[in-house]
């Protein structure tokens, strides 16, 4: 019974990690840059969602679950725009500046975003309005308990991931993205406007991240400004686990990480679960840096 429950727990957490990992993996794919600011963009999604819902609450005095949808759309667009802005200001000028500078720039953006959140919203925990998410659940024959919200979250996550996957595989823009991930110069020769494609990636990646932030906040109910950092790092581990630059990899990596974490926390010790996650990351990078599905990482002739 415990095992089933931990699996359920793990899959839920995993779905979140997958969603956030998508943003990382996409950006890394086209720019070979670890967007450290991604976790904070995700966190901003949670905050903006809260503001949006509060505004609606004032206007409508009562909210039903459907109020979430317009707010989600607005949050997605806003965070997406912030993402594009960040790319333009902090990353684009550095594309030819070596490998160290973009990392610092990304970290700088992360600090700015976190500081802004802490100063604008305050240091205390924020709670989403009640009653917006479906409650209740059911019990599996094996004995584990699944809440309706969990089902919603996992389904939505998979739908989003599926949509993204189809987009990247089946559309022209998606193909262009894959080309740009392989080689900027050749893509340019093929007539692809690399800057535009990168901008689009920064629309979609952060946009998804923002939505993920709102979903996470809705699910847990409360959060504070430290949300971005931890989730970001875990999601990044998930992306690497699955093979960075690879969308199905992000999905699988996220799920796997969530399940491992849940099992570790449940059966070994909750305080060591993060260490276990990091150790797994280190081991993966040592022994199978390609991740489960991904590209080659080591530079060997």
């Amino acid at each position: 019974m415990q095992f089933t429950q931990q699996m359920i727990n793990g899959i839920t957490i995993g779905a979140f990690y997958s969603l956030v990992a998508l943003g990382y993996t996409m950006v890394y794919g086209v720019l070979k840059l670890i967007n450290f600011a991604h976790g904070d963009l995700f966190m901003w999604g949670a905050y903006l969602g809260l503001t949006g819902l509060n505004i609606l609450l004032i206007l409508l005095t009562q909210l039903s679950g459907w109020a979430i949808l317009p707010v989600v759309v607005i949050v997605m667009i806003t965070v997406a725009l912030v993402g594009v802005l960040v790319e333009r200001v902090a990353y684009r000028p550095l594309r030819t500046a070596g490998r160290l500078a973009p990392v610092i720039s990304a970290l700088g953006v992360a600090f700015i975003l976190e500081s802004l959140a802490r100063n604008i919203y305050g240091a205390s925990w924020k709670t989403y309005p009640n009653g917006l998410t479906p409650s209740g659940g059911f019990t599996l024959p094996g004995g584990g308990r699944v809440s309706t919200m969990q089902v919603v979250v996992v389904v939505v996550s998979f739908l989003l991931m599926g949509a993204l996957y189809l987009f990247v595989q089946r559309t022209r823009i998606g193909t262009a993205m894959r080309a740009v991930s392989l080689n900027h110069d050749v893509s340019r020769l093929m007539g692809i406007d690399v800057n535009r494609i990168i901008a689009i990636v920064f629309l979609i990646g952060p946009g998804l991240g923002g939505v993920a932030g709102m979903i996470v906040a809705l699910y847990y109910g409360s959060f504070d400004f430290t949300l971005g950092w931890v989730f970001g790092l875990k999601a990044f581990i998930a992306a690497i686990l699955g093979g960075i630059g690879n969308i199905p990899g992000a999905m699988i990596g996220g799920m796997l990480l969530g399940i491992i974490e849940a099992q570790a926390a449940g059966n070994i010790s909750p305080q060591w679960k993060d260490v276990i996650a990091y150790v797994i990351l280190i081991l993966i990078l040592i022994f199978r840096p390609t991740g489960l599905l991904g590209e080659r990482v080591a530079e060997k002739l």
Binding site: A90, I104, I112, Q271
Partner: protein
């Protein structure tokens, strides 16, 4: 830009004896007219300068991404603390042990991951930094005192006198700082130092020239990490209380920024970086809540304006500028 470059060219004559003597004199005399708080700030600047110089070997000379350097700082600090608390070894005598322990962990960590590409090395080092911090917080083997850390460590004592006042710690630190500078300069100009720079510039070519790149990179890690351990011991001696916060990611980021913002691969660059990342923010406390944002803005602006840092080694500058010109001329 040209006037800045001109300034830099003139500053580069720092190699001259006058500059060196001047530097030593200034660092010796500076704390004398100041109060204890400012002396402590100077001490802290010096510690970060040592850390920056140690990281410069890994990041600056060898071009390896190390975003978990603070872990070795912490390991050195805890080694000194434990040896002092459990075995009563006087603090100054624990210094070699911290260096060795930190260097050893540097070896352990780097050995399996040196073949990784830059960004991946970056992530692994971050992960390692967190593992060390969490292990310390979780009171691994019951040794590390948990989140509270360890306290009651002795002060370093010279000639039977325990060093209490900030000024003594400053001078103790200064001795090590000067030693560090001398050693690093020697390394810079040695075969090993040149090998590091070749590896940074083009690893494949270096390998082809017969350089054992793995060994060279390992040495960078070992030496850099060991040195960070030394800084950790000095820290322990002054504060007498240490906690897992020493291994925080933010610490590693600050050290990384010191090296890159100050000027990758150059010793004066590390000092510029330390002043910018440690001393100035300390003196600008009135910003309080917005200090993090300010730090972030500085980082972004600096990188966009001058990605090689304020005072980079000429080689690095050429590398980065050269790459840009190449890239720009091809579009």
């Amino acid at each position: 830009m040209t006037s800045f470059e001109g300034l830099l060219t003139r500053l580069r004559k720092v190699d001259s004896l006058y500059w060196q003597i001047g530097f030593v004199l200034v660092t010796i005399l500076l704390p004398l007219p100041l109060g204890d708080y400012h002396r402590t700030v100077l001490w802290r600047t010096g510690i970060y300068a040592i850390l920056g110089l140690s990281l410069n070997i890994i990041v600056g000379y060898s071009g390896l991404f190390q975003l978990g350097h603070a872990a070795f700082y912490a390991l050195g600090a805890y080694t000194s603390a434990l040896l002092n608390l459990h075995f009563g070894i006087p603090l100054l005598l624990t210094l070699p042990a911290s260096v060795i322990v930190a260097a050893f962990f540097g070896y352990l960590v780097s050995r399996p991951i040196l073949h990784l590409r830059g960004d991946y090395l970056c992530i692994v080092t971050i992960a390692f930094g967190e593992v060390v911090r969490l292990a310390l917080v979780n009171n691994i083997f019951g040794l590390t005192g948990g989140a509270n850390g360890l306290s009651g460590i002795d002060r370093p004592s010279l000639f039977g006198q325990a060093l209490r006042a900030p000024i003594y710690h400053y001078y103790l630190m200064l001795i090590f700082l000067l030693i560090t500078i001398v050693c690093v300069r020697r390394l810079e100009n040695s075969r090993l130092g040149r090998a590091w720079m070749y590896v940074r510039e083009d690893e494949t070519a270096a390998e082809a020239m017969g350089i054992d790149t793995t060994r060279v990179k390992l040495l960078a890690f070992i030496i850099g990490s060991g040195w960070a351990g030394l800084a950790g011991s000095l820290y322990t001696g002054k504060l007498t209380v240490i906690s897992p916060d020493l291994s925080k990611f933010l610490e590693s980021v600050i050290m990384f920024c010191i090296v890159v913002l100050g000027g990758t691969g150059s010793i004066p660059g590390v000092f510029v970086g330390t002043l910018g990342m440690v001393t100035l923010p300390e003196l600008s406390r009135s910003l309080r809540d917005w200090r993090d944002a300010w730090l972030g803005i500085t980082m972004v602006v600096m990188m966009v304006a001058r990605p090689e840092g304020l005072w980079p080694s000429r080689r690095v500058q050429l590398e980065i500028r050269g790459e840009r010109e190449e890239a720009l001329s091809s579009t």
